[in-house]
């Protein structure tokens, strides 16, 4: 009788499964049409665009300043990093000098946001794999970051903290104390996470040699960020073309070797520790002085020309491409988002894997769909 359930008749051999767009493990509004042969995937066709809001068109019809709140609503998990990147691009286009203190503040806030993004990924990925406990630990830690950032930016998720020429509010002793306490707390936490997850045999079996993205595949699809570093390429925008003050900090670029889901986990895990190191150094060398440049015009009218600024978001290389025609709003505002290439690669990664592994791979890639849809 058993074969009746395991071997379908020839005519029904390929079965199409509609994964998403509202399945909890598709992280947002991603829909993937999976052609299945039994439990094995034959073809994967991601369908995206459910969250398309037209940020690029909005950018063309708004003042530069008015576009600031939009920036944190693309990749909502690392909103501050996108906010940071946009002000850097406009500052470069107009030629605004930024005070030293605000550069350090931006780095501290950005790295905190990077850790919070990775922690959310950590929690939800383990939840996808069936482990509920790490989720609670990770969200507890993430809550500390949200409190710290809330105290200075006024929001918990869609931060619009950076301004052309600085930041909106100065950080105070309370912020520094909270951040230092958080770093101390995390120092003790890494060992807990290692014990709970990294050395867990069930976790390792579900991720090792699953969803391998090698260097060649990554290059073909322009995969960047932790997904690229997991296959051994130490490509980090903060290191290759340092922006802001990243060239002043001592930090490592963690890499993996096999490029499987386990390596992607390790790379992100170690990246959080490196972010902590950066924050610690930035706090130690925090200069005094103003937090916002004076004499930045209320209405910014850049000269004619273009600017392209790449920065390292939590998911990889993101970039703003702005073309100015000399008017107060950009002629073209293009955003290169890392998840676009990262998700695109799934077309070649998913075939010949099991459906259960597809969930593991999808989680390990760490895509944010509204970022792709823009």
């Amino acid at each position: 009788m058993g074969e009746l359930y395991t071997t379908p008749p020839e005519s029904e051999k390929i079965y199409t499964l509609n994964l998403g767009p509202q399945h909890p493990s598709t992280h947002g509004v991603l829909r993937i049409l999976l052609d299945l042969d039994g439990e094995y995937i034959v073809k994967a066709d991601p369908v995206i665009g459910y969250g398309h809001r037209g940020h690029e068109k909005m950018g063309e019809n708004r003042l530069y300043k008015q576009f600031l709140p939009n920036t944190s609503r693309m990749d909502y998990l690392s909103g501050l990093l996108f906010n940071h990147g946009f002000v850097l691009a406009v500052e470069k286009l107009v030629g605004i000098e930024v005070p030293e203190r605000s550069k350090y503040i931006r780095v501290i806030a950005s790295e905190l946001n990077r850790i919070s993004s990775h922690l959310l990924w950590f929690g939800t990925y383990l939840l996808d794999l069936g482990g509920f406990t790490p989720f609670l630990y990770a969200f507890d830690d993430r809550e500390q970051i949200l409190d710290i950032l809330d105290s200075v930016t006024g929001s918990r998720l869609t931060y619009s903290y950076c301004r052309f020429g600085g930041v909106s509010r100065d950080i105070d002793a309370n912020f520094i104390d909270m951040t230092r306490a958080f770093l101390k707390r995390m120092d003790a936490r890494w060992a807990d996470y290692d014990n709970l997850v990294s050395e867990n045999i069930i976790f390792i079996n579900r991720t090792r040699d699953v969803g391998i993205i090698d260097r060649e595949l990554a290059r073909q699809y322009a995969v960047t960020g932790p997904n690229l570093r997991a296959c051994g390429v130490a490509f980090d925008v903060r290191r290759i073309e340092p922006y802001e003050v990243y060239d002043r900090f001592d930090f490592e670029v963690p890499t993996g070797s096999r490029g499987d889901a386990l390596d992607r986990y390790y790379v992100r895990f170690k990246e959080m520790q490196q972010s902590c190191r950066i924050i610690e150094q930035a706090l130690d060398h925090l200069p005094g002085g103003p937090f916002l440049a004076e004499k930045v015009p209320q209405k910014i009218t850049p000269p004619k020309g273009e600017v392209y600024l790449a920065f390292e978001s939590a998911r990889g290389l993101a970039a703003y491409y702005l073309v100015s025609d000399g008017s107060p709003s950009p002629y073209r505002c293009h955003i290169r988002v890392p998840s676009f290439g990262n998700l695109n690669a799934l077309i070649d990664v998913l075939p010949e894997t099991l459906v259960a592994d597809a969930i593991s791979i999808l989680g390990s890639i760490d895509v944010v769909i509204p970022e792709i849809d823009r």
């Binding site: 019809n61 073309e241 491409y321 100015s324 008017s327 676009f340 070649d348």
Partner: protein, 156 residues
């Protein structure tokens, strides 16, 4: 292949192609070159063999022409390069999705937003827009537009 060598190869293929070096640092790339529409496949192949990846592709809509902007980058050392091509409003651009597999989606996105068709891309379904979309929102004749300019008004 080093970046100087790529520059030489491109100049051999397209003598007199307008090349602009990034002196202010605003372009975020070493240089930018304008190639004819028919030449983009050759250029893409050159970059592919030189171990570059296609960072992003985007377009701009001008009164007189559409402009496609390709950003190529490599892992080490820092050497981003911009390749542009001018494509008429009714012209079909050659696809490079068989050279860089990631280009397929980027071309679909450009087709969504600007209505540029790519010959050789087997999958031209809308990517970010609805399946039945027959409009191209980033064209300057769609919706609210603050200015519609000629190309030389910006590049001077």
């Amino acid at each position: 292949m080093k970046i100087q060598e790529i520059e030489r190869v491109i100049f051999e293929k397209f003598p007199g192609a307008p090349l602009v070096r990034d002196e202010t640092g605003k372009m975020g790339a070493l240089w930018s070159v304008v190639v004819p529409v028919s030449g983009i496949r050759d250029v893409a192949k050159t970059f592919e063999t030189a171990d570059f990846f296609l960072e992003t592709v985007t377009a701009l809509d001008f009164q007189d022409t559409l402009e496609l902007v390709y950003h190529f980058n490599c892992y080490e050392p820092k050497s981003r390069v911009v390749v542009r091509m001018l494509c008429g409003h009714d012209q079909v651009a050659p696809s490079i999705c068989d050279i860089f597999r990631g280009a397929g989606w980027l071309e679909r996105e450009i087709h969504d937003f600007f209505g540029i068709r790519f010959s050789g891309n087997p999958d031209m379904r809308p990517l970010l827009l609805p399946e039945d979309a027959d409009y191209h929102p980033l064209r300057k004749d769609f919706g609210k537009v603050s200015a519609y300019r000629k190309r030389e008004e910006i590049y001077g």
